[in-house]
């Protein structure tokens, strides 16, 4: 019996030590607030859109992200009006809602930004309800929306009143489409897009807050090589698309 306990205890201890040292666990990020205890459901305060094309519901959550998708015969406008009326605004603060998107943040932790993205597709509308912990610091403009499927790289810095955040776009694929979609999200969230370049090698945009015109933004995407090729027979360089987002006074200069 003692031997069994010895083997069981030692083997488990080795496994725990190994998982911790090898970084195979969550790495200190333990779910709280809107990401916890979902069990395939939606975060509290965010309702499902009920009038769906049968069998279209789905979703998933990852480290600091959540996304839920559905398809409905209703128009985007109808979907967004539904969410304006039914999101629990004690939990979520809506910062903008327009033609095709809606933006909100989690009141308990404003670094968590979310939204509803709609895409009209002939007779149906695709709905994406998402939220992401962008790890934004206190003071970051509350009305500046987040973007679907981006992942924060590090914590935004504050350079003379301008917040500089970096977002990984690996979950999106095409940076041109990302910039075009984000321009629409900004417009819907009461920001004027003052410049938009979606066709160049490094798509970018600039914007200005309608409520505080001194607050501007710039977003520039570029491809970064994270790990250069080792020169072997297999081209093994690793890269990613990254968006650098600057928000603050004269951030577009």
């Amino acid at each position: 019996m003692r031997s069994v306990l010895f083997v069981g205890g030692l083997s488990f201890a080795i496994a725990v030590a190994y998982v911790v040292l090898a970084g195979l666990g969550p790495g200190g990020y333990v779910a709280a607030g809107p990401f916890a205890n979902l069990h395939g459901g939606l975060p509290s305060g965010l309702p499902a859109y009920l009038r769906q094309v049968q069998g279209t519901r789905g979703g998933g959550s990852g480290e600091g992200t959540f996304e839920w998708n559905a398809e409905t015969p209703d128009a985007p406008n109808t979907v967004l009006r539904f969410y304006e009326q039914n999101i629990d605004q004690k939990i979520w603060a809506i910062t903008g809602s327009g033609e095709t998107t809606m933006s909100f943040y989690y009141r308990s932790s404003p670094g968590i930004r979310g939204g509803v993205h709609t895409l009209e597709n002939g007779r149906t509308t695709f709905i994406s309800l998402w939220m992401t912990d962008l790890k934004l610091p206190a003071g970051y403009p509350l009305n500046f929306p987040g973007a679907e499927r981006v992942r924060p790289i590090g914590v935004p810095t504050n350079e003379a009143g301008v917040y500089v955040a970096r977002w990984e776009l690996s979950g999106i694929g095409d940076p041109s489409r990302f910039v075009t979609d984000f321009a629409q999200t900004l417009k819907d969230a009461e920001w004027d897009v003052t410049a938009l370049t979606a066709t160049s090698r490094e798509p970018s945009l600039q914007c200005r807050s309608r409520s505080s015109p001194l607050i501007t933004c710039s977003l520039r995407t570029q491809y970064e090589i994270v790990k250069p090729s080792t020169g072997g027979v297999v081209y093994d360089a690793v890269g990613r698309y990254v968006a650098t987002v600057r928000v603050g006074r004269d951030a577009d200069r």
Binding site: S11, P26, V30, L38, V233, Y235, V238
Partner: protein, 129 residues
Amino acid sequence: MTQLGNARHLIGLSVVLAVYWVPVVMGVGWGMWSGGDPISIATAVSDSVAQEWITLPTRTVPLAALIIGATILALVHLRRSAPRSRAEVIADKLTVALALPYLAISLYLVAVLTWFYIACKLAPCNFLF
């Protein structure tokens, strides 16, 4: 208290058994991450065990040397004719029995990687992986 000097067979068995704990411990960790309640933990452990077993050797490369060492030691002791306690023999047999599936999966992955390397050597593979 088990004397360390007399526990070679138990330590060897523990090392081999530890590798099978890894997906379970990972699942518990991710279950804690996704809520920490029994349902989240059970789901995460179940998913982790289901998803990790085929890639287990790639996740546990640093442990492979210890497992191979423990298996060789167990085999050496099993082949000795000197009288040994029943517990020691059982532990060594279990060590070998538990190490075999792990080593078989490792060999399979090594074979696939070798084939991939040779194929790419013959016709360069210009893609990310």
